[in-house]
Structures are given as C-alpha cells and as structure tokens.
C-alpha cells in the first residue's frame, strides 16, 4: 500500500462518526477509510467519544410495555442481519463498488480524453468517478461548495501538492487550482461535492447528468 499523506479533515471525521455528513462526502470518507488505517483508527476514537457522551446523556424513562414487547422479539439463535458488504474490486474500494451496485463503471467521455461515471446526484450534491489520461488536466470542477477528490489509481499534482493512491484533496470554492494527472497509469479518482447540481432550464433535466462534469 502506498503512503497516504492527505487525510480526512478532523471535522469531517467527526461529522461522519455522528452521521451528519452529506451522503457524497460520506461515500468519499467510507472509501478513504477502507484504504487508510490512520483515519480508521481516528474514526474509532471519535466513536468512543460518542459512546462516552451516550453514557452521560440524561435519561428519559421508557415504558415497561416497550421492554416486554422487545423481550418477546428476542430470538435465541443469533441472527446477524446480513450487511450488504461489498468487496474491493481492482482499484475500487468496497463503498465505491456498493455505489456501483457491484458492476464495473460505465465510462462516458466528457472530452479531452477524460471520462466519468456518475454515481449519485441529488440535492445533497453529487459523486462521480473520473478517468484522466496521463498528462491531462482534471476538468475544471467549478465547485460551488466543497469538493473531495480521492485518488484510486495513478496520481495528480496541483499547486497544493501531490496526490497519490488513497490521498484525498479537500478543495473549497476559494481554491484556484489546476490538477494534472501524472505520467504513467491513467488517474482514476472519486470526486464528491455538496453543491447541488445547477440545472439549466434549456437542457432537459434528464440529460444533465450525462453532460455535467
């Protein structure tokens, strides 16, 4: 495993532990954690804080009938609910395979040799995979909000540094940067933003995801 030097910001790790991170970021964080033991340990630490706070919460009395109803449901054989656990496949970590429904990405050309696969879009933002040939620039994200870019294969560099496999870049709308894929293997990234996609009234809504970068 390559050396990861760019990690999840602490505030996002806490929001992930608390369950308050928008879905596009939650996917990027889950994918990074699948690749990064440091952030996995950090998440565990924040969950320990959450558990401590749960211990310290003021109590609200629960009814006896609820307890009885619950005990009536206890089965003696352990029944672990099957987690829809997706396995890593090639360069794609489990959570990305989950977002792909276990199928390989269906790349669509967006010009300049760059391809993308849209994984999710909605009011809470969007998530997509990007495929950038060596030496090519990552397309202008035009981010309104915050964009997370997690490298899954290859590497890119910009004014702020070099990002290899497992590294995650956090860019807000104040960052002017031109990421360029390194020579060698094509760069494959997961890009997540919390900015809602803006729909141009002249273009039918259904076509937007196909054209949008």
């Amino acid at each position: 495993m390559s050396q990861i030097t760019h990690h999840i910001p602490e505030s996002m790790l806490i929001a992930y532990a608390a369950g308050s991170l928008p879905r596009p970021f939650a996917l990027a964080v889950a994918a990074h954690i699948s690749l990064c033991d440091d952030c996995r340990v950090g998440l565990g630490a924040h969950e320990a804080v959450g558990g401590t706070l749960l211990n310290e919460q003021p109590v609200q009395m629960v009814s006896d009938s609820m307890k009885e109803a619950l005990f009536a449901q206890l089965d003696d054989t352990p029944l672990p609910e099957p987690d829809p656990a997706f396995e890593r496949s090639g360069v794609f970590p489990g959570p990305v395979m989950q977002a792909l429904n276990g199928k390989p990405p269906r790349w669509k050309s967006v010009g300049g040799g760059v391809r993308q696969t849209l994984l999710h879009w909605g009011d809470d933002g969007s998530t997509r995979l990007l495929y950038i040939p060596p030496g090519k620039a990552v397309p202008d994200h035009g981010h309104n909000g915050i964009e997370l870019t997690l490298v899954l294969q290859g590497a890119f560099s910009d004014e702020t540094g070099r990002f290899g496999v497992g590294d995650i870049e956090v860019a807000d709308d104040t960052l002017e940067h031109t990421p360029v894929a390194e020579p060698g293997a094509p760069c494959i990234c997961l890009a997540a933003t919390d900015a809602p996609l803006r729909f141009n009234s002249l273009i039918p809504r259904l076509l937007q995801p196909l054209l949008r970068i």
């Binding site: 929001a15 369950g19 996917l27 699948s34 340990v41 959450g50 558990g51 749960l54 629960v62 829809p84």
Partner: protein
C-alpha cells in the same frame, strides 16, 4: 502471562460479553435498563416525540441483541458500539439509498479474548469521560451537538476547534495499540 480475570473489565463489557457468548437475557436486560433511556433521550434531543423516540431505542436495542456476535471488545467499547448502531439507524431513517459502508477489517482468529487490549479500551473510556468533564459548559455543549449529529461539518470546524482540541489530545492516547493491531493485519 496470566490473563486478568474477567471481573476487572467494566460492567458494560462483562454484560455485553455475556450476551455475545451466552445469549444471556438477564445481562441484556441490564444493558437495556441502562442504555434504552439514554437512547430515548438522544432521540428526543433530535426532535422526536416520546413515542417515536421510544421506538428508536427499541430498534437499536434489538439490533444490539441480534448483532451481538459482531461486538469486538478489542476494537470498541460497548457504549461506542451502541453509539454506532444508533447513528446508522438514524442515517437509514433519513436516507432512501444505501448508507456507504467501509470495508471491514478481517477479524483476526483469536483463540481467546486479549484481556489487556480489552482493558485498554475500558481505560480509554475512563480517560475520555474525565477529559469531557473538564470542558467548560459551553464547550461541552458544542461537543455534544457535534457528536450527536446536531452540527454540520462546517459548523464543527468553525465553532468547536478549541473544545475538540482538548478532547483530541486525549483520544489519541489509548489508541496506539489498536493502530498497531490494524497494521499487523494487513
């Protein structure tokens, strides 16, 4: 080296291990009596009415029973594990689509529990409680909001820097062993 006897674990850990290993209903009843009123309290904080909050507490505790086999005291305290279950439940309620699930670390094959590691997790919980109780009331209120899902990540970074710094220096302490264990598993 002899293993310390089980009774040096925290009460919560002892009870949860009894549920995990023996499906012990009496032990589960005690965990229920402790956690259900707190889970209900957290749910009411988020704006649910008493009845709905009780439903949430019931579902979370049923999941605790059903997934007891997955409880790993080397990785998380009982309270941290139940915190995760409650968090996941809350996300699943809000979102229609699947919640992204990180890959699981492969379980190491343990012949028996590593008492020292479990005790280290219990001690970490004690340290955390002390650190949290040293926060000033306004800092404490922010930290609670952040971890109970009442702040966005932007609000967390804007508002809680100082308070979280205090906690953060603490939460790294007990986790070095865990870090080494994870590294050894790859």
């Amino acid at each position: 080296m002899p293993q310390p006897p089980e009774k040096t674990y925290s009460d919560q850990t002892v009870l949860m291990l009894a549920v995990r290993d023996r499906r012990d209903r009496a032990a589960f009843g005690l965990l229920f009596d402790y956690f259900a009123p707190r889970l209900k309290g957290v749910a009411m904080r988020s704006g649910l009415g008493s009845g709905a909050a009780e439903d949430v507490a019931q579902e979370v505790m049923l999941t605790v029973w059903r997934k007891a086999e997955k409880f790993d005291p080397h990785r998380a305290q009982v309270s941290a594990w139940i915190f995760q279950i409650a968090r996941n439940r809350r996300i699943d309620l809000v979102r229609k689509e699947n919640r992204p699930i990180p890959e699981e670390i492969k379980m190491v094959d343990r012949v028996e529990d590593d008492a020292n590691q479990i005790l280290a997790m219990d001690q970490e919980a004690t340290q955390l409680k002390l650190a949290l109780n040293r926060l000033k009331p306004d800092q404490r209120a922010l930290v609670e909001k952040a971890y109970l899902g009442e702040l966005s990540h932007k609000e967390i970074s804007d508002q809680t820097g100082l308070a979280l710094g205090t906690v953060k220096s603490r939460i790294r302490l007990g986790l070095e062993r865990l870090r080494h264990e994870l590294k050894g598993m790859r």
